[in-house]
Amino acid sequence: MNKFWPLFFCFWPIVAVVAFWISPAMNWWFPGMAMSPLGQQIDNLFYMILVIVGLVFVGTHIGLGYVLFRGVAHEDEKKSWFSHGSHKLEVLWSVAPAGILLFMSLYQLDVWMRYRVKSHFPDEVQPIAEVTARQFEWRIRYPAPGKALMPTPQPDDLYTVNDLHVPFGRPVMIRLRSMDVQHSFFVPELRIKQDAVPGTVIPIWFETVDEGDFDLTCAELCGWGHYKMRGRVFAERESQFQHYLKTLQAEQDYDGVRELGSTGAQIAEYSRGPHKQAGH
C-alpha cells in the first residue's frame, strides 16, 4: 500500500506523455501544416523545444519518482540521510540548464528577426493591402490594379470586408491598423499573429506556399463580439489575384444603372466560384 502514492505520481506523467504522443493522430494538434516558410520554421522550433522540454519533463519526473520510491522504502528507518546539499551538483545543475537556455534563445533570434525586423524583410516585399480592424470586422483596402498602396486612402482604392485575398508563392506585406480598440491579426495556419494597435500602423509580411483559404481570427480581447471577428485569407495564383482586384473594381464602380454588361458579367462570373477560373 505504501507504494500507492509513488505510483500515483509516476502514473500521471506517463499519461501526459501518452496524451502528447497521440494528440496529432487525434487531431488535437496544429490546424494543418504551416502554410508559410516562416511558419514551418516556427514549427521546427516548436518541435525542437518539445524534444528538450520532453526530455527534461521525463527526466525530472523519473528523478522525482525515484526519490519517492526510495523514500517510502526508508520509512521505518530511524533517521534520514543528513545532508545539506552538494556544491558540485549545484554547479552542475546550474551550468547545464544555463547553457541549454542560452542556446535556445540565441538559436531563435534569426526567425524573429526575419519575422519582425524591417531591415531583414525580404527585399522585394511590397504592401499589397491595408487591413483595419474594428469592432468586430476586418476592413481591407487594396490599391487599384497596377498601382501601389499609398499610406493614405486614394480615390480609386478598393474596399472589402473580412476576406483578404493574397497571391501565393511570393512574400506579401499588409499594413495593419485599428480603427477603435486593440485587436490581433491571427492566422493559425500561417502561424502569424500581430496586434493591431490604435494609432500605429504595423507592417506584417508573410508568404503562403500554396493555394488555400485560411481562417483569420482576432486574438486580443476587443469587446463582447471578440469571438465572432471571423475573417478569411484566400491565397490564390497571381493571375487570379489580379482578376479578383479587377472584379472588385468593377463591383465598386458599378453604379447600378447600366445594363448587365461586361462588368456585371464579371461579377456574376466571379461569384460563381473564383477558384475554378485558374489560368486567366
Binding site: 494528440s23 488535437w28 534520514s80 534563445s105 485599428s178 486593440q182 491571427f186 494597435v197
Partner: protein, 615 residues
C-alpha cells in the same frame, strides 16, 4: 525540551505577551491588531473568495462546453431576459472577474495576507508585526476592494460589468463607448484594484520591517526559514513594483473621469462615436501594467515556494538540499522578474529589438526555477517519505510546477510565442503555475499550519480525498488546454465553434468542464474539513509535526504575544536527522546545543558552527 529562557528584556520590544489582555470581542476578533487573528481573517476571506472565483470559472467552463444553452441552476434567475442563456457580454465579464477575483482577492492575499501575517512573527520569533495597526488596516482595506469589485458587478447590471479582461488594456477600458462594461463599472473596478494595492503595500512595508528588525536573538538572515525568505523577497518585489500599477490605475481613472490623455490616440472612431482627440499611446499601459503584473506572478509564487520547502523538509525529516542556492535562486527570480515583463508583449508591436532582450532574460529566469526544482528533489532524496496530506500537496506542487515551468519555455521563445500568445496554451501555463503550484502549496500549508492556528489537526482522510479529487480534476481540466492551444484555440472566446478549425474541439471542452465541476465539488471537502476540524479535530501540543521552526516552540494556538518563553536561536531551521543527537530526528532552532563528551567538545563546536552557519 531544553530551551533557554533569557530575561524578558533581552527582547526589548513592546509588551511581552503573557496570555490575555482584557479586550472585548470586537477588538479581539474583528478589529484585531494581533497578526494571528488578521492572518486567519485573511485566510477565511480568501477561501470565501476562492469559492466566488471558482463559481465564475465554472460559468466560463459551462459556456465553452455547451455554448448558448440554458445555464443550469442559476440560468432562469440571472438570465431571465435571455431565456436562461448567458450573453457574450456576460461571458467576457466572467473571464474578467474570474481572473480579478482569483489574482487580487485570492492568490496574492492568501500568500502574503494569510500565511505571511500568521507566520512571519512566529517564524522570526517576534511577538507581533512591527506595525500592528497598519497590519489591521491592511486587512480592512481588502473589504473596500471587495465592495468595489462587487459594485462593478451589480451597479449597471450584469451585462455591463467590467469585461475588459483583468489586463484592462486601453482603448477598450478607457472609453465608455468601447464596451458595455467600459462605463462606470470599469471605474469601480479600478477603484477596487487601488484598494487591493494599498492593502498589499501596507502588508509589504510591515513584513520588511518585521523581518529586518524583529528577529529573535540568534536569528541571522541565513538561519531564517525559506518561508520567511520567500515572504521577504515578495515584500520587496511588491514595494518596488506596486507603485507603478497604482500610478497606471490613477492615470487610467484620470483619463476616464477627468479628461486626461495618456493612452488613447487621436482619430479613433469607437462604436460610431465622434473621433477621439489627443495623442496617447495604448502600449504605455501595457508596459506599466506588466511592469507590475509580471513581478506579481512571482509575488503569487515565491511565498508558496518557501512554504513548500519548509513543509517538505519536515515531512521527509531531512535538511533542505542546498539552502543557500534556494535563497539565491529566489532572489534571482525576483531580480530577473523585473526585466522580463516585455514577454507579455511580443506580438504587441513594440520595438522588435526589445523582443530579443526580453527573450533572453525570460529564458534565463527559467534557470533559478530549475535549480529550485532540482533542490526539492534533492531534499526528498534519501529522506523518509510518509504520504500524509501535506506531503501529497508538496509533491503535487513540485510536479505541477515542472509542467507549468516547462510550458513557459515556448512562451519565452519569441517565434513560438507568436503562435501561442493569447491562446489556451497560455491559459494552461499560468494555471499550472498559479493553481497547480501555488494553490496546492496553499492546500498543504493549510493542513500543515492548521494545528498552530487552532490547536487541532485537520482530518487526514478528508484531506487525502480532497487532494485526490482536486489533483485529478485539475489535470483533467488544464492539461488538455495545452492541446487546445496548439490547435490555435484563442482565449476569451464566448463561442469558438463558429470558426471551422475549432469545431471538432467541443467534446474535449466538455470533458474539461466535467473535470472542472469535479474539482469545484472537491473544494467543499476542504471547506467542510476546515470547519469541522475546528470542533472535532485531534487536539495537539506545541509541535505536532516534530518540526524545527520557532513557531513550533510556541503554544498551539499561541496566545497574544506569541511566545511564553522568549525564543533564542542556535541554528538554522532544517537540522532534521542531525547526528548530534540520538534520541530524536529533529533539533529545534531553540534547542540548546547538545552536550558532548568533554574531550570532543573542541572539535564539535567548530564543526557545529560550520554546519549551523550553513543552516
Amino acid at each position: 525540551m531544553s530551551t533557554l529562557s533569557p530575561t524578558a528584556d533581552v527582547h526589548g520590544h513592546g509588551h511581552e505577551g503573557h496570555g490575555h489582555h482584557d479586550i472585548g470581542f470586537i477588538r479581539k476578533y474583528v478589529f484585531s491588531t494581533d497578526h494571528k487573528v488578521i492572518g486567519i481573517q485573511f485566510l477565511m476571506t480568501t477561501l470565501l473568495m476562492l469559492l466566488v472565483g471558482g463559481a465564475l470559472a465554472l460559468g466560463v467552463r459551462f459556456q465553452l462546453a455547451w455554448p448558448w444553452r440554458t445555464v443550469p441552476i442559476v440560468g432562469e434567475i440571472v438570465f431571465s431576459g435571455e431565456g436562461g442563456t448567458m450573453s457574450p457580454e456576460f461571458y467576457t465579464m466572467l473571464v474578467t472577474m474570474h481572473a480579478s477575483v482569483m489574482i487580487f482577492l485570492v492568490i496574492i492575499p492568501i500568500l502574503a495576507g494569510a500565511f505571511g501575517n500568521f507566520l512571519i512573527p512566529l517564524m522570526v520569533g517576534a511577538d507581533d508585526m512591527a506595525f500592528p495597526v497598519l497590519n489591521m488596516l491592511s486587512y480592512w482595506f481588502m473589504w473596500p476592494a471587495i465592495f468595489f469589485f462587487g459594485l462593478a458587478f451589480f451597479w449597471s447590471g450584469l451585462d455591463a460589468a467590467p469585461a475588459q479582461g483583468w489586463t484592462s488594456y486601453p482603448v477598450l477600458s478607457a472609453l465608455k463607448e468601447a464596451a458595455p462594461g467600459a462605463g462606470i463599472a470599469q471605474t469601480w473596478w479600478l477603484m477596487g484594484l487601488t484598494f487591493v494595492g494599498v492593502s498589499s503595500m501596507m502588508g509589504s512595508v510591515n513584513y520588511m520591517t518585521t523581518i529586518i528588525n524583529m528577529r529573535a536573538p540568534g536569528m541571522t538572515l541565513f538561519r531564517m526559514p525559506l518561508t520567511i525568505w520567500g515572504m521577504f523577497i515578495t515584500a520587496i518585489l511588491q514595494a518596488f513594483a506596486l507603485p507603478v500599477l497604482t500610478a497606471a490605475g490613477f492615470m487610467l481613472v484620470a483619463e476616464r473621469v477627468l479628461g486626461f490623455n495618456f493612452f488613447v490616440p487621436g482619430g479613433l472612431i469607437v462604436n460610431d462615436s465622434d473621433p477621439t482627440v489627443g495623442g496617447g499611446q495604448p502600449l504605455l499601459w501595457q508596459h506599466l501594467f506588466w511592469f507590475y503584473s509580471h513581478p506579481a506572478v512571482y509575488i503569487m509564487l515565491l511565498p508558496a515556494m518557501g512554504m513548500v520547502s519548509d513543509m517538505l523538509a519536515a515531512q521527509v525529516r531531512k535538511p533542505i538540499f542546498g539552502y543557500k542556492p534556494m535563497v539565491y535562486s529566489m532572489a534571482a527570480i525576483a531580480g530577473l522578474g523585473f526585466i522580463v515583463w516585455g514577454h507579455h508583449m511580443f506580438t504587441s508591436g513594440m520595438n522588435p529589438a526589445l523582443g530579443m532582450t526580453f527573450m533572453i532574460s525570460t529564458m534565463m529566469i527559467a534557470l533559478p526555477s530549475a535549480v529550485k526544482v532540482f533542490n526539492w528533489i534533492g531534499t526528498i532524496w534519501g529522506g523518509k517519505v510518509r504520504f500524509n496530506t501535506v506531503m501529497l500537496n508538496c509533491v503535487a506542487f513540485i510536479s505541477m510546477f515542472i509542467v507549468g515551468g516547462l510550458s513557459g519555455i515556448w512562451m519565452a521563445s519569441v517565434p513560438t510565442d507568436i503562435y501561442f500568445h493569447d491562446t489556451y496554451f497560455i491559459v494552461a501555463h499560468f494555471h499550472y503555475v498559479l493553481f497547480g503550484a501555488t494553490l496546492f502549496g496553499c492546500f498543504g500549508a493549510i493542513q500543515y499550519w492548521y494545528p498552530k492556528m487552532f490547536g487541532r489537526k485537520m482530518n487526514e482522510t478528508a484531506g487525502k480525498l480532497h487532494f485526490l479529487l482536486t489533483f485529478i480534476g485539475f489535470n483533467g481540466t488544464f492539461f488538455p488546454m495545452h492541446m487546445l492551444g496548439i490547435a490555435g484555440f484563442p482565449r476569451r472566446y464566448a463561442d469558438p465553434y463558429i470558426h471551422p478549425y475549432m469545431e471538432h474541439l467541443m467534446p474535449m471542452n466538455r470533458f474539461m468542464t466535467l473535470c472542472a465541476i469535479l474539482m469545484g465539488l472537491a473544494q467543499l471537502i476542504l471547506i467542510g474539513n476546515f470547519i469541522l476540524s475546528y470542533f472535532t479535530g485531534e487536539k495537539v501540543g506545541r509541535n505536532p509535526w516534530q518540526a524545527n521552526g520557532l513557531e513550533w516552540s510556541a503554544p498551539s494556538p499561541p496566545g497574544h504575544g506569541n511566545f511564553d518563553i522568549p525564543p533564542v536561536v542556535y541554528r538554522g531551521p532544517y537540522e532534521y536527522s542531525s547526528p548530534l543527537i540520538d534520541d530524536r530526528d529533529y533539533l529545534m532552532q531553540t534547542d540548546l546545543p547538545p552536550k558532548r563528551p568533554v574531550e570532543k567538545e573542541q572539535d564539535n563546536t567548530s564543526s557545529n558552527d560550520a554546519a549551523e552557519g550553513q543552516g
